[in-house]
Symmetry: C2
Subunit: 381 residues, 2 copies
């Protein structure tokens, strides 16, 4: 049996995340669920979201995918209920889980669109408190707390991340490339205070694909294009980071690309190093001369669900920087057949490397050792 | 010695390309070179281009790169003179060369910006006639003719491509993803008449990276980002094509991704196939069920300059669909040390596969056999 640490799952927020955590006078202004035309919708001051459980397809036959769930009862309860989630994960041999937000968007960037920024900060804090108290609180030895932050202001982001470190967060959910969202990019020093804090605290910065895409093109409206080519965004944004000052100014920073895949990395490093050597003089990078591949192998972790071929190339990168993910309850998840999927995936990989990729690397990276009690209770050999 | 067929070089247009081919009354309106503030510039009705020889760095030490040449005398003559180009290529063991335009942009898309579209068509035709008569005319057994076309109108593109097939063109220089330029994309049937013509004529469609990028982001203004991450555009646009109707409606179409590299392809196919299988029902692709990898291995060719690691993965793709390129006179070219670079690159590759990748695949693809007379005169074993 495979002992699994999933570094990328997704929470469909239950209705009370925000209304349960703000003063009564604000309950109509923060995200709350209303019934409208036979569906449940998120509504808040300045916006609404008609899809309740984007991509919450776990446990459904692939022939039936497509219509997004519009009611909680259309999903399996593990989507939004941490107790049910825990049962599902444990039944599949998953003993730790880092889970990303849905309604707030990756990094919580949807709150940037809120006209009232004080309200937006309250909403960030409410999601973070929900994560610690309610989600992780349901099974603290299984759920790895990850926090979001106000993406529109680095000082606010630092303050909230500092608060969450004190509350026990083990990761920051952040943006692959804020420049795509019109925010300062990683070639400026704007975000340095936040990365300094994460470096000091040893807090991994997790950047999920889709967290900051370039503007959608016409072809991008064809679903299969974005689905099949999504790794290209992780490739571009990780190379962007590799050649940026961030991992050179903060040599101990931990950067995680979630759901971006692994098979393309070696090619990306080969190209980046060659171009760095050829172009470092006129681009004035010769004085900060650390090769992109050295930065990637030191500061970056990449994640995989099922990539047998990508896994074959692992020694051309670094085995200790490859992580496994489940993506529950999204379309990429092998749930409920996780163990069978891992059996096929790791068929020709030595046990020591399986242990590293399935859980050992993640335990070290997040500072979250698997619970021996959980494994002994739910692990079946 | 390596017998080389370069499927990707670049022409810096000499000053007479347009003015030599239009009636006297139009000479001030088509692109022509003027002296201004000590530099030479391209000027035309509605625009100007201050960089004469974008990226024309062949033969210069990498420490001196950066300032774009602003005068023809700043470049080595092989940039713009086909006789000098022939000498350079032959001295490096290159016996066939497909060359892309500079001033017109890839596919000739700059002419789309001309306010007078009749003039724009004349300019497309002038470049194409220059290609056949002057460039390839200088050494017809060495230079492989490639044509451009009006990108803003499929009927005009078909008419010009038909004219050029009669004139002997061996390839169409086209856009990776016209949707990025606000034109109809490959998920519409707009371009079908052009692809039908290319399929009928066996004409390879060559799509160079940078031919149709998504809108530039803030980070994209940092030179090293675009340089190092450029393969991500080839990855995205080739996957876009793989999941589009084009290679399914035109099963004999030949699609070439120029300068996009090869090392990432196997990972792209692994992901695309997995996503196709999982999402084909709700995206209504189950009725046109040809896997992306099958399309890529049948209809697509990918190009490489120096990618030892990418080359190691070649059997996970198809050796016969990998091409070598020189990129003369751009920054990626190993010129004037082409043979030494190939020696290092192909060190552990069997001769039969070297022959295929260095020239055999390209000879078959472009229908352009290498000249035995040139090889016997310039080849040194």
């Amino acid at each position: 049996m495979f002992t699994l640490f999933s570094v990328d799952d997704h929470i469909v927020e239950p209705p009370g995340v925000w209304v349960d955590r703000v003063p009564a006078a604000l309950r109509d202004r923060v995200p709350h669920v209303v019934e409208r035309d036979g569906r449940q919708m998120w509504v808040w001051d300045g916006g609404q979201e008609p899809t309740m459980g984007l991509n919450a397809v776990a446990g459904k036959p692939i022939e039936t995918w497509g219509a997004e769930p519009t009611r909680f009862e259309d999903m399996i309860p593990g989507c939004y209920d941490p107790h049910e989630r825990a049962k599902d994960l444990l039944s599949n041999g998953i003993f730790a889980s880092v889970a990303f937000p849905t309604l707030p968007g990756f990094a919580g960037r949807k709150f940037q669109t809120f006209p009232d920024k004080d309200l937006a900060v309250l909403c960030v804090q409410a999601w973070n408190d929900f994560m610690i108290d309610e989600w992780c609180g349901a099974q603290p030895d299984l759920f790895v707390p990850m926090s979001i932050a106000p993406v529109w202001d680095v000082e606010l982001a630092v303050a909230e991340t500092r608060r969450m470190i004190e509350r026990g967060t083990k990761a920051l959910c952040w943006m692959e490339d804020p420049a795509n969202l019109g925010l300062p990019g990683y070639h400026t020093d704007y975000w340095h205070p936040l990365f300094a804090l994460c470096e000091d605290a040893g807090l991994p910065v997790c950047m999920h694909i889709g967290g900051a895409l370039p503007s959608v093109t016409l072809d991008g409206t064809v679903p299969m294009v974005e689905i099949a080519a999504a790794f290209a965004h992780a490739a571009r944004s990780s190379v962007n980071m590799m050649v940026s000052p961030i991992p050179r100014v903060f040599p101990d920073i931990k950067l995680v690309w979630s759901e971006g895949g692994i098979g393309w990395i070696t090619a990306a490093l080969e190209r980046a190093d060659r171009q760095w050597e050829r172009h470092k003089y006129w681009t004035h990078l010769d004085e900060v001369d650390v090769l992109p591949s050295a930065v990637a192998k030191r500061n970056m972790w990449f994640c995989m669900i099922e990539e047998p071929l990508g896994l074959q190339y692992r020694h051309d990168f670094v085995v200790d920087h490859i992580l496994w993910e489940s993506d529950y309850p999204h379309a990429d998840t092998p749930f409920p057949h996780t163990q069978a999927a891992c059996k096929a995936l790791f068929e020709r990989v030595p046990q020591e490397e399986i242990d590293a990729i399935t859980h050992g690397n993640a335990e070290a990276l997040f500072g979250f050792p698997l619970s021996a009690a959980l494994i002994s209770r739910y692990g079946v050999n």
